[in-house]
């Protein structure tokens, strides 16, 4: 069920198509392979953060601190790389660990001390911002010493060579098909009704086409951007996590009825702490990508990203009360937000209008979503 399309999802597909249509009409460049690649990179960054946010909202909490977190942990890494000339991987690893610990602590405070996540993370927002500025001394810290490249800087600038992306793409399609077959057989052997072969085949086929098309378009420019690969991997993980593992299902359970979950013997506290820790890791990852994207740590990195992440989740039909939402939705939500911004930048629309448009779309999308959910 959770993996079948709902009116909800349709509503989003529609909004997305509308937005794309409008921009394409206003400026055909919008669908140029180059711009699409750019869009994909920007999309990956927001979407990854949104996935993390999803894992926190699912059990009914929220995280306002991710924005400044992105700045801080991106900053720590670049300071280590640029000023202490550590190797990029090491620097990123350390910063990652720090982030996980920090969020783990916040999670502890939330569950053990029963302080609402809203507050803890609001506090975090302020503390991380301050620390961030201290760490980079309000200056500009590049992610790599003069002009050359490292793992850090490549995060958002590397494109897969054609052959790699084709192999990958084949593997993925193969995987999907295999999984389909397996689950069909399992369903058979358990004597469930099995959708007839054509349908299954179509499903796989369509998926395959979509992926292939994407690879082709990207290769037209420079190839599949690394960020999108990272996103794809993470998304798949989170999908499996939330739909097909205990941890994920428990997140839903806790989100929709904590008391019941507890009585059913679910380790509520551990669960929440873990979801926060995961968020920490994702924040760090986003931090690296966002900083790499800007090329250097500056005081403004990450500003308001928490809002974008939350918006993405909510537009994607995640309930802020917890217990409802799914990965697909979140991805769509993020894609809507990003397309909007990218398109408007392409049209050099003035900031005032950008704000208004963002606000309107956010509200409309959710409104549409709610309407559809209610009939």
């Amino acid at each position: 069920m959770n993996n079948k399309l709902s009116t909800r999802d349709f509503s989003m597909v529609i909004s997305l198509l509308i937005i794309w249509a409008i921009f394409t009409i206003l400026s055909p460049t919008f669908v140029s392979s180059r711009n699409l690649s750019m869009l994909m990179i920007e999309f990956s960054i927001i979407a990854i953060l949104a996935l993390g946010m999803f894992l926190v909202i699912l059990p009914g909490h929220i995280d306002l601190s991710v924005g400044s977190g992105v700045g801080l942990f991106g900053g720590i890494a670049s300071v280590l790389v640029f000023q202490y000339s550590w190797a990029a991987p090491l620097a990123m690893f350390v910063s990652l660990i720090l982030a996980i610990i920090t969020w783990w602590l916040m999670g502890m405070l939330v569950v053990k001390q029963k302080i609402p996540a809203f507050i803890i993370t609001l506090g975090g927002l302020l503390i991380f911002k301050g620390s961030f500025w201290l760490v980079i001394q309000n200056s500009t810290i590049p992610v790599v010493k003069g002009g050359n490249v490292n793992l850090y800087s490549l995060l958002t600038t590397y494109y897969l060579p054609a052959y790699v992306s084709y192999t990958l793409c084949l593997l993925v399609i193969g995987g999907v098909a295999y999984r389909k077959i397996v689950s069909r057989n399992q369903r058979k052997q358990y004597g469930f009704t099995v959708e007839n072969v054509e349908v299954s085949f179509m499903k796989v086929f369509v998926t395959a086409q979509a992926i292939l098309l994407f690879v082709l378009v990207s290769n037209e420019y420079r190839g599949v951007p690394l960020p999108i690969v990272i996103l794809a991997t993470l998304a798949t993980l989170v999908y499996i996590l939330t739909q097909h593992t205990k941890f994920g299902r428990y997140l839903y359970a806790v989100g929709s009825n904590e008391k019941a979950a507890f009585i059913s013997g679910i380790p509520v506290e551990k669960l929440v702490i873990m979801s926060f820790a995961t968020m920490g890791a994702i924040v760090a990852l986003t931090g690296f990508m966002q900083t790499a994207y800007a090329g250097s740590s500056t005081t403004t990195i990450g500003n308001l990203m928490e809002l974008d992440a939350i918006a993405a989740c909510v537009i994607g039909g995640t309930s802020l009360k917890g217990g409802r939402g799914n990965v697909m939705g979140v991805l769509f939500g993020a894609l809507i937000m990003v397309s909007l911004l990218n398109g408007m930048t392409l049209l050099a629309i003035s900031p005032e209008i950008k704000f208004i448009a963002r606000g309107t779309v956010l509200t409309l999308a959710v409104w549409m979503d709610v309407r559809l959910a209610n009939d």
Binding site: G147, T157, S350
Partner: protein, 322 residues
């Protein structure tokens, strides 16, 4: 030395209140450091406030300085119009006010000392024209539309560029405001421009080194870095590094040391109620404010040595990161 000192400080210790727009940019930290250390040499204390580019915060900061009964106020207004009120309040409390780097409009501020931002914009534009020999397609990245300094820079650039744009010698193929001065926005804007118009443009005129950095990031990824000239301003360390690497063509160096030290001396003199002599004057909408102007310099690969490094604004080894 036998001047009337305000009753507040029983000891003759002079206290200067320095209210900064922001410390978010490296440049202002330099201002602060130079100003403070020099004032100390001259035997005065300095209370520093930074407002995170927020007018209300800056009002509160200044209120606080007045509460602390400073002898003289040095204000770097985030927004020249908004700080008029602050000046009045200071004067009510009998505290003289120096406008530092940015004029404060519609009030009787005592002195204005700066290299003004309009001039900076003009200088950027002039350099652009010279090195393009007045012809070419350019991208313009303005600063945060909510920060009126962005408008000052733009004004300066326009003063020079308008005629050429009218004549069609300079064509602005893409222009946009970099929200919040964010480098990534500078990058997005440049990307948009490239997506729209391809690579046939010759220069990017950015509002500061931060946004310039964003633009260069985009160009690098496009393999255009170095081929296309990028102009910023502020002489940030990274900018200087880019200049020596050749990815950025020019930045504007404001000899902060001169400015800050001059301002510090000025402040102390005013605290001691000495008479100030200023050649120029600036109309701030209410009065003609006595003005002390300090020249800015365009910095390129060529004159890096004679300017930045000579003044010790940045160390050579940092710039060439040896």
């Amino acid at each position: 030395q036998n001047q009337v000192t305000p009753p507040s400080n029983r000891d003759n210790q002079i206290v200067i209140g320095l209210s900064l727009d922001t410390l978010k940019e490296a440049r202002w930290q330099k201002d602060r450091d130079i100003f403070v250390s020099y004032a100390k040499e001259l035997g005065a204390d300095v209370l520093v406030q930074a407002a995170n580019s927020d007018d209300t915060t800056q009002m509160q900061n200044i209120e606080a300085l007045i509460s602390r009964r400073v002898d003289v106020l040095v204000i770097v207004p985030h927004n020249g119009k908004a700080m008029a009120k602050a000046v009045e309040k200071a004067h009510e409390a009998g505290i003289p006010v120096i406008a530092y780097d940015r004029i404060i409009q519609d009030c009787d501020v005592d002195v204005y000392i700066s290299f003004d931002n309009v001039k900076v914009g003009e200088m950027q534009a002039t350099f652009l024209l010279d090195s393009l020999s007045n012809h070419g397609k350019i991208i313009r990245i303005y600063g945060s539309k909510t920060d009126n300094n962005a408008f000052l820079f733009k004004k300066g650039q326009d003063n020079i560029l308008e005629p050429y744009i009218k004549k069609g010698m300079i064509e602005v193929i893409h222009e946009d405001w970099a929200e919040d001065w964010k480098p990534e926005n500078g990058k997005k804007i440049t990307n948009a421009a490239i997506s729209l118009h391809g690579e046939n443009f010759t220069a990017v005129l950015a509002a500061n080194d931060g946004t310039a950095g964003g633009a260069i990031q985009a160009l690098t990824e496009e393999g255009l870095a170095g081929k296309i000239m990028v102009i910023g301003q502020d002489a940030e360390l990274v900018a200087c590094q880019r200049i020596v690497q050749g990815t950025q063509s020019m930045t504007i160096y404001k000899p902060l040391k001169k400015l800050a030290q001059r301002a510090a001396r000025l402040a102390i003199d005013m605290a001691k109620r000495k008479v100030i002599v200023a050649q120029e004057s600036t109309d701030n909408g209410k009065i003609n404010v006595p003005t002390i102007a300090i020249d800015v310099q365009a910095v390129t690969k060529k004159n890096m040595e004679q300017t930045i490094i000579k003044d010790g604004f940045h160390d050579r080894k940092d710039i060439f990161n040896e």
